[in-house]
């Protein structure tokens, strides 16, 4: 199963909307319509998503459970992106350096056959750093930074996300950062060696609508990172402790890499009526982004007048979507 049905509905809807914009929108919106159309279609949410989720050695039962919970949260979240079942691979505590590299290579082969795609790697567990770089602790020989760099190298043509949810992982940041890749590490350097809390809050971000800051029901990497980072800071403040970990995010486009679909998008079926409504919603969201980008070039009163008009359209449409999908207030957290 994939999300081609929604992409198709979107293209249909875009044709109509762009035409409408050119006939009734102002000059600024006309100029931006085409770029919006192209931008929407290029969003990674429509791309084929592949992922390898690994939980490393816990060392004791509590950590093993914590890593397994976090891995499950990531796996479940990625499933909502409508990924075909075998595109996401979950490797548990028994995984080894070779099995992880093998899983990445398998994804690489499949991605080579697509025109676009996103590959995500999640390493959840303990890590340590030395002069040779960062190591992710797994059964047998550790997976080291060079292994990860080498395994990801053939994927340079696709968008990548690497999440190192482990201690000392900041040591791998510089080696992994490159164009087209977003890297998240739980620590800022290899010197932050304590077991980290950040992954726990990252998992929480994937399970709560609270982390969907713009409430568009697409949880992005940047939103999940923001949520987890804020919760980590708050955690140490409340414990009256100096924070021993400082998560980092490097790379562009983290706001465009989805981790989960939520709410009505998550529950959407392949019914044509719902698909059409959701396609319209995505178009309106595109219009909204264009309008926001134009804010500094517009008179304040004009901006808010157009914003209100657009927001009312979005709100009415959302009511229709909720009616069609059977979504109710009870499905929402806030």
């Amino acid at each position: 199963m994939n999300n081609a049905w929604l992409k198709s509905a979107l293209i249909q809807r875009l044709r109509t909307v762009v035409l409408e914009w050119f006939t009734r929108g102002n000059q600024l919106l006309k100029q931006l319509a085409l770029s919006m159309l192209l931008g929407l279609l290029a969003l990674p949410v429509w791309a084929e998503n592949y992922a390898v989720v690994v939980t490393g050695l816990g060392g004791d039962a509590a950590y093993s459970k914590q890593f397994a919970d976090t891995g499950s949260a990531v796996f479940d979240a990625l499933q909502t992106l409508d990924i075909e079942d075998d595109r996401i691979v979950f490797l548990d505590e028994s995984s080894t350096r070779d099995s992880i590299i093998g899983a990445i290579e398998a994804a690489t082969k499949r991605l080579a056959q697509t025109d676009s795609g996103v590959f995500s790697l999640f390493l959840i567990g303990h890590g340590n750093a030395d002069t040779q770089g960062w190591r992710f602790n797994v059964s047998g020989p550790d997976l080291n930074t060079q292994d990860i760099v080498a395994a990801l190298n053939p994927l340079s043509s696709v968008q990548q996300l690497v999440v190192l949810a482990a201690s000392a992982s900041g040591a791998a940041l510089d080696a992994l950062v490159q164009p087209g890749r977003v890297v998240v590490s739980a620590t800022k350097s290899g010197g932050e060696i304590n077991a980290v809390r950040f992954p726990v809050f990252f998992a929480e971000a994937l399970r709560t609508a609270e982390s969907d800051y713009d409430r568009n029901e697409i949880l992005t990497t940047s939103e999940a990172f923001r949520f987890a980072q804020a919760r980590t800071v708050e955690y140490y403040e409340q414990q009256n402790l100096l924070a021993p970990e400082h998560a980092r995010l490097k790379g562009d486009n983290s706001a465009d890499i989805p981790l989960a679909l939520l709410g009505s998008l998550k529950n959407a079926s392949e019914e044509p009526e719902v698909a059409a409504l959701l396609a319209t919603r995505l178009v309106l969201e595109g219009q909204f982004k264009v309008l926001k980008d134009a804010k500094s070039d517009m008179a304040t009163a004009d901006y808010y007048r157009e914003l209100e008009e657009l927001l009312l359209r979005i709100a009415r449409l959302q009511q229709s979507i909720d009616l069609a999908t059977g979504w109710s207030e009870n499905d929402a957290e806030s």
Partner: protein
């Protein structure tokens, strides 16, 4: 923004330190040398300087610099302000020499460049060569007197007993006695010094200036001393800046500024006067004038850490957000009774501002009535999220261990972000400081330190946002050991503490004293005393007029009161301590039954103890360990009601109350959290929703505004909360604006969408 690195006065190694600092030239400043170890040639140059023949003096020093050698040459370089060369020459002279004079003169160079601890170390080295070497003993006492301990006073008292003709000892001791406002003693010392000066043909300038300071403390004109000094040396600006110091210790910053302005007019090269003028302009909120004079000071003396740090603080002040609030009368909201300017760091301004405004408004309303005084100009409240910035703001103020400081209409303090979470109750500190604004200004700064602090502590205990009135164990021990000062000498406990912790003990004693007066003779007795102080009367007169008691009689009654209040605890302090030790052992053994019994015993003995080492938290843990969760929660609630405010424990109480759906009891605990650690998004969001549910839109707005300020959570939720608060206030336009802001950051936020739709439908 400039870096916030502060110059340090600490010295990593003795001989290496001067090399680390890129010392260069320093403007020439008049220094009076009373010791006789300077060479005759250099003393001849000094004499020219003392009478204001500056050019001739400089020529004289320059000649000596080029013609002499050794210590004399180094002294000449120091007098010329060529610090780098002087340092090199002193170092060369000190090599392979056991002459304590060289180390002593070198140490004076450190004092001149504000490196007091380095100077102390060199004076001590000189004393290694000769333990009785008087100039080094005096230098050490002078260096120590720049701190605020009592060691310098003791040392100087001994030196003057052994060397009754030492002019420098007499003058240094007189300075300390003046700070303690022991005027007859100070004058006696100065008169003795004057006699010695005349006999030794030394300049009387400093003595004139200190006499002027004494006159100033007695509200007499200082003109006669000024005329004498300027007649002796027309360039002697210190005749104004030395007395100005005594305005500062009596909190009269505006008057101090006037004197410093005169000082720099007489001698524009006086770097320290420019610095102190700048610092005190800042205290009365004249930022531009402050910057000008601090820059002047920096040009003349770039090594003064106080100048550099204050200039950096000014850069930071430029980045702070200032808001203005008109305070309405509590009785008639249409009457404005004062204005408050609030200056906050931009990083936590949004989160803090609603609370600072709320408390400041309440404080102005309360204190205006309580002390029968209306603000005559805007009151400025500053909260610094960087403790170093706050430290710079308080520089040169006598006293230690401060959380906040008040300079008349300006109050500055740490923001809760400046310290570890829960380290202090910032709401209580702000209340304390605003009380100072009123008591200082109602008396034109004429009240003694003990009374000002006493009233602030009294207000903290009786009307502030924290109900606690816990006396520290140090305070109880001080009462028990008869260490409390007589009321007439209580200021000494603040200004020149004689034992570790005496400042904190003096705060408590002052607070208890004010509390006792209010309980025994009514609050109006305190107001009466305030008015008596405003008429420039002393503590004895104020007591006599307000309660018709002599100080000694008051002290007797006060001790009786303490005995009534704390006698049973004080008489069993050793027993209390023994129970504490038993409790510690029981905890180690996980003997929770004994822990419960012992902690309950300690609480019974001293229920008000809710801070460090309190037994409530231990009792709650013991109850929990034995499965009695309900009793544990009740114990924690009792602790909170008495003023317990550890934020981690408060959050724990909140979680338990919420789980039990005891929401009404949750609210005050959450409010308490915000007065200690106002940075919890969950607390602000929950309180905001609660206040909406009980139709309190203003409080709800405050909470959502603070939530918005945290910038770590959804701005959509915060704006939506403010929109609903506006709806409750029937402010539709405001609600529409806020809901648009909400949806602007989260266009698919359904609750906000629904409100927008309903607002649109309502048109």
């Amino acid at each position: 923004m400039m870096l916030k690195v502060k110059l340090s006065s600490s010295r990593p190694t003795l001989l290496g330190a001067l090399l680390l600092i890129g010392w260069g030239t320093h403007s020439h400043a008049l220094t009076i040398h009373y010791d006789t170890t300077r060479s005759d040639a250099i003393r001849a140059c000094d004499q020219l300087d003392y009478v204001g023949s500056r050019e001739e003096a400089l020529e004289c020093y320059e000649t000596l610099l080029s013609t002499s050698t050794g210590l004399e040459q180094a002294d000449a370089a120091a007098a010329l302000g060529d610090i780098r060369q002087a340092n090199r020459l002193y170092r060369d002279a000190a090599a392979n020499s056991n002459d304590p004079a060289i180390k002593t003169h070198w140490a004076q160079l450190y004092l001149q460049t504000h490196q007091t601890s380095d100077a102390e170390a060199l004076f001590r080295e000189a004393l290694v060569y000769d333990a009785n070497y008087l100039p080094a003993r005096l230098g050490l006492a002078e260096a120590q007197s720049e701190g605020y301990g009592g060691r310098a006073r003791e040392a100087l008292t001994q030196i003057t007993a052994e060397n009754p003709d030492s002019v420098q000892a007499l003058i240094l001791l007189a300075r300390i006695e003046l700070e303690l406002q022991n005027l007859p003693i100070a004058r006696g010392l100065l008169n003795r010094a004057l006699t010695e000066i005349t006999a030794k043909k030394l300049p009387p300038l400093e003595i004139y200036a200190l006499h002027a300071g004494a006159d100033l403390l007695e509200d007499k004109p200082i003109t006669p001393w000024v005329e004498k000094a300027l007649e002796y040396n027309p360039l002697y600006g210190d005749v104004y800046s030395i007395p100005a110091r005594y305005y500062i210790i009596t909190y009269r910053y505006r008057e101090a500024v006037d004197l410093y302005q005169k000082a720099v007019a007489v001698d524009p090269e006086l770097a320290v006067a420019h610095r102190d003028l700048g610092i005190n302009q800042l205290r009365i909120n004249n930022l531009f004038a402050a910057r000008y004079h601090l820059q002047q000071a920096y040009v003349k003396d770039p090594y003064d850490a106080m100048t550099v740090n204050t200039l950096r603080l000014l850069d930071d002040l430029d980045q702070m957000r200032v808001s203005s609030v008109d305070v309405p009368s509590a009785q008639d909201p249409d009457i404005v009774i004062g204005r408050v300017l609030i200056r906050l760091d931009t990083e936590d301004a949004d989160a803090l501002e609603p609370y600072v405004i709320n408390l400041s408004v309440k404080a102005v309303q309360h204190f205006s009535e309580q002390y029968d005084f209306q603000l005559q100009r805007p009151m400025i409240v500053e909260l610094y999220h960087d403790h170093d910035d706050f430290g710079v703001r308080t520089v040169s103020t006598p006293g230690v261990g401060l959380l906040g400081v008040t300079f008349g209409y300006l109050t500055a303090m740490d923001s809760p972000k400046a310290r570890a979470a829960g380290d202090f109750h910032w709401g209580s500190t702000l209340w304390h400081e605003i009380a100072h604004v009123f008591t200082l200004e109602a008396t034109n700064h004429r009240l003694p330190r003990w009374f000002s602090e006493g009233l602030s502590v009294y207000e903290e205990w009786n009307t502030g946002p924290l109900p606690s009135r816990e006396l520290s164990m140090d305070m109880l021990a001080a009462i028990h050991a008869n260490q409390l000062l007589p009321i007439e000498k209580l200021d000494e406990g603040f200004v020149r503490p004689s034992y570790n912790g005496q400042v904190q003990v003096s705060y408590m004693q002052a607070g208890l004293t004010s509390d006792f007066i209010a309980k025994r003779w009514g609050h109006e007795a305190l107001v009466s005393m305030l008015k008596t102080f405003a008429k420039k009367q002393n503590t004895a007169t104020a007591l006599r007029e307000a309660i018709d008691l002599e100080p000694q009689a008051f002290d007797t009654l006060f001790l009786e009161y303490l005995d009534q209040q704390y006698g049973s605890l004080l008489s069993t302090l050793e027993e209390y301590s023994a129970v504490e030790q038993q409790l510690a052992r029981a905890i180690q053994l996980d003997d929770w039954l004994s822990v419960e019994s012992l902690s309950a015993d300690l609480i019974g003995r001293y229920p008000a103890r809710i801070g460090d080492g309190n037994s409530y938290l231990v009792l709650a843990e013991a109850q929990r360990q034995q499965g009695n969760e309900t009793a544990a929660l009740e114990t924690l609630l009792s602790w909170h009601q008495l003023g317990g405010h550890d934020p981690a424990v408060l959050l724990q109480i909140v979680q338990e109350l919420r789980a039990l759906e005891r929401f009404d009891e949750t609210v005050p605990v959450m409010e308490s959290i915000n007065w200690v650690m106002p940075y919890s998004a969950d607390v602000h969001r929950w309180l905001g929703e609660h206040y909406l549910s009980v139709q309190k839109p203003d409080l709800a707005h405050r909470e959502f505004n603070a939530l918005l300020g945290l910038q770590s959570d959804s701005t959509a939720v915060a704006h939506f909360g403010m929109a609903r608060a506006a709806m409750l206030n029937n402010e539709q336009d405001k609600a529409r604006r806020q809901v648009l802001y909400s949806l602007e950051s989260a266009p698919f936020y359904r609750p906000a969408q629904q409100l927008l739709l309903s607002l649109s439908a309502g048109e």
